[in-house]
């Protein structure tokens, strides 16, 4: 089985492949289960490359992303997932929030 890779110019981000997750539920679970220092390190690494990542992804139609670009795209969705943890809450979960495990996503 071939190893999951990112497009060549983004291989430095391959250390974050654990965040390449397809659904919101998976990304949310991973955020809640991660230590804040790991979340922050992922956030900073991604944010530093987004000016290149988004234009790269924008050359493809959403439904026609090649495998390596699709994994890079999932990393951007995980950046969206962790953004409030870093930018608003300073912790993985919503401060004084409702139990997110009981707030069940009925979409993918």
């Amino acid at each position: 089985m071939p190893e999951t890779r990112l497009p060549e110019q983004f291989r430095d981000l391959e250390q974050w492949m654990a965040w390449s997750l397809e659904t919101e539920g998976e990304r949310s679970d991973h955020r809640q289960a991660s230590a804040m220092e790991d979340i922050t390190a992922f956030y900073e690494a991604m944010l530093a490359r987004m000016d290149e990542v988004l234009p790269y992804l924008e050359q493809f139609n959403l439904e026609e992303l090649p495998d390596d670009a699709r994994h890079l795209f999932y990393l951007t969705l995980s950046l969206a997932e962790v953004a409030p943890a870093v930018e608003q809450f300073g912790q993985p979960s919503v401060v004084d929030g409702y139990d997110i495990k009981r707030f069940v996503a009925t979409h993918r």
């Binding site: 919101e24 944010l47 987004m50 988004l54 992804l57 924008e58 493809f60 139609n61 959403l62 439904e63 992303l65 670009a69 795209f73 951007t76 969705l77 950046l79 969206a80 997932e81 953004a83 409030p84 930018e87 608003q88 809450f89 919503v94 401060v95 004084d96 929030g97 409702y98 997110i100 009981r102 707030f103 069940v104 996503a105 009925t106 979409h107």
Partner: protein, 429 residues
């Protein structure tokens, strides 16, 4: 709720205009809300019989059943029933009580799908998409069975802007357009269909009275406090530190509130990226071209979004480029099914989808802050320590909502309470 004398204007409320919303709708008074309306089983049973079994309730959108044979099931515990909503071979949307005519078994046990017939799992009685009883196994052994009278029991159903509503009253006293009234008129032309090609939805069974949850979403006085981390500067500003709303319109039962949005809002790094690729709620470059009259009714430059509270418990909150809904379906006096849904135009590019995901996550995390209050509040409501609660002028949608509920439970008419311009009718005084 007992009638109380109007408050004196001498004290003011800190805003330049004094009691702005009270002055617009003085007949609602200024009195407190009794605490027991959130905990009384007797009150809940009256709400069931006189409100939920009598009015139009949203059960979903048409995008969920695009083709003939597509159906979904909506359990309506508060109406003591479950409803099947199905698109027929003729393209019409129909609704039926989800109950077999034989011995009452629930026909569809799933949440939805596509089918040619509805067949009861108990004894195999089979119904067409139009509700007609088509087949009874071993029919010859029944006695005088009149199949033509034994279809699934229909439920009144109608569609407004793609939103499917049902009314379990066998003889509804008003049509859906009559029920929605001027609120629907004001939203006519908002691109609900275009914005509903994709959606994200969450649901949770909350141990709280439906009004505890509803009330939390129909005021913005809490924003500066409960949401101080998530949205510290979006809905408040130096000149409007308490998120005073731009406008309020009350209808006989429904209510709308147009919300302030701050031009001083400083987007975070990821919010900035998201804004470059799609729609976010707070933005400075929105266009008022093509907005229906009922959206941002004051045509304010400092607008963020409008709350539209469709009685009893369905919110259609619209902004520029997207909208979201909340629905609070009671299960019991202290148990409610909470559903929130964010709607978007289907993204075709990765950048737009990233932008939507950010909006999605922020929306979810913000309402997680709201959500924490529901059970914390309910958990102490039954203590009896507080007999009543006090409402701020900006909490007028709550005041109005309790006023309408009180009238309906007493069997008093609510329709005559306002003229179309929101002024109190003379007969009410």
């Amino acid at each position: 709720m007992s009638a109380t004398p109007n408050g004196t204007l001498a004290n003011g409320n800190g805003s330049a205009g004094g009691y702005k919303w009270h002055n617009k709708y003085p007949h609602l008074g200024t009195g407190p809300v009794p605490a027991d309306v959130f905990t009384s089983q007797e009150q809940f049973e009256l709400e069931r019989e006189r409100i939920f079994k009598k009015v139009w309730l949203n059960v979903g959108r048409v995008e969920r059943i695009p083709n003939p044979g597509d159906y979904f099931v909506q359990d309506l515990a508060v109406c003591n029933t479950s409803v099947i909503v199905v698109r027929g071979k003729d393209g019409a949307v129909r609704a039926f009580h989800n109950m077999c005519s034989h011995r009452g078994n629930k026909i569809a046990w799933d949440q939805g799908g596509t089918c040619q017939n509805f067949t009861c799992k108990f004894h195999g009685w089979s119904y067409g998409l139009d509700g007609r009883l088509k087949f009874v196994p071993d029919e010859e052994s029944f006695f005088d069975l009149k199949k033509e009278t034994l279809g699934m029991t229909p439920v009144a159903v109608d569609v407004w802007e793609g939103f499917i509503f049902v009314n379990v009253d066998p003889n509804p006293t008003e049509t859906l357009p009559e029920y929605l009234g001027d609120l629907a008129t004001g939203l006519k032309g908002y691109p609900f269909g275009e914005f509903s090609t994709t959606s994200t939805s969450w649901t949770s069974e909350v141990n709280a009275n439906w009004k505890v949850i509803k009330d939390a979403f129909q005021e913005v006085y809490h924003i500066a406090f409960l949401h101080k981390r998530s949205i510290p500067d979006s809905f408040t500003s130096k000149n409007n530190p308490y998120a005073h709303s731009l406008d309020v319109t009350l209808y006989p039962r429904h209510g709308s509130m147009s919300l302030f949005g701050s031009a001083d809002y400083k987007p975070s790094p990821v919010a900035k990226l998201a804004a470059q690729h799609g729609e976010i709620v707070i933005r400075s470059d929105f266009s008022m071209d093509g907005l229906p009259a009922g959206v941002n009714p004051l045509r304010s430059e400092a607008w963020s979004l409008d709350l539209n509270v469709i009685f009893p418990a369905f919110f259609v909150d619209v902004s520029q480029g997207s909208y979201f809904t909340h629905q609070f379906m009671p299960i019991g006096v202290d148990k409610t099914l909470w559903t929130s849904t964010q709607y978007y135009t289907q993204a075709t590019t990765p950048g737009r989808r990233f932008s939507q995901e950010y909006g999605n996550v922020m929306f979810r995390d913000i309402i997680m802050e709201d959500g924490r209050t529901f059970e914390e509040t309910q958990s102490v409501l039954s203590s009896g320590a507080k007999k009543e609660f006090y409402l701020h002028d900006e909490e007028i949608l709550i005041r109005h909502s309790h006023h309408v509920i009180d009238k309906m439970l007493k069997g008093q008419p609510v329709d005559a309470a306002f003229a179309a311009n929101g002024k109190e009718a003379a007969s009410h005084a």
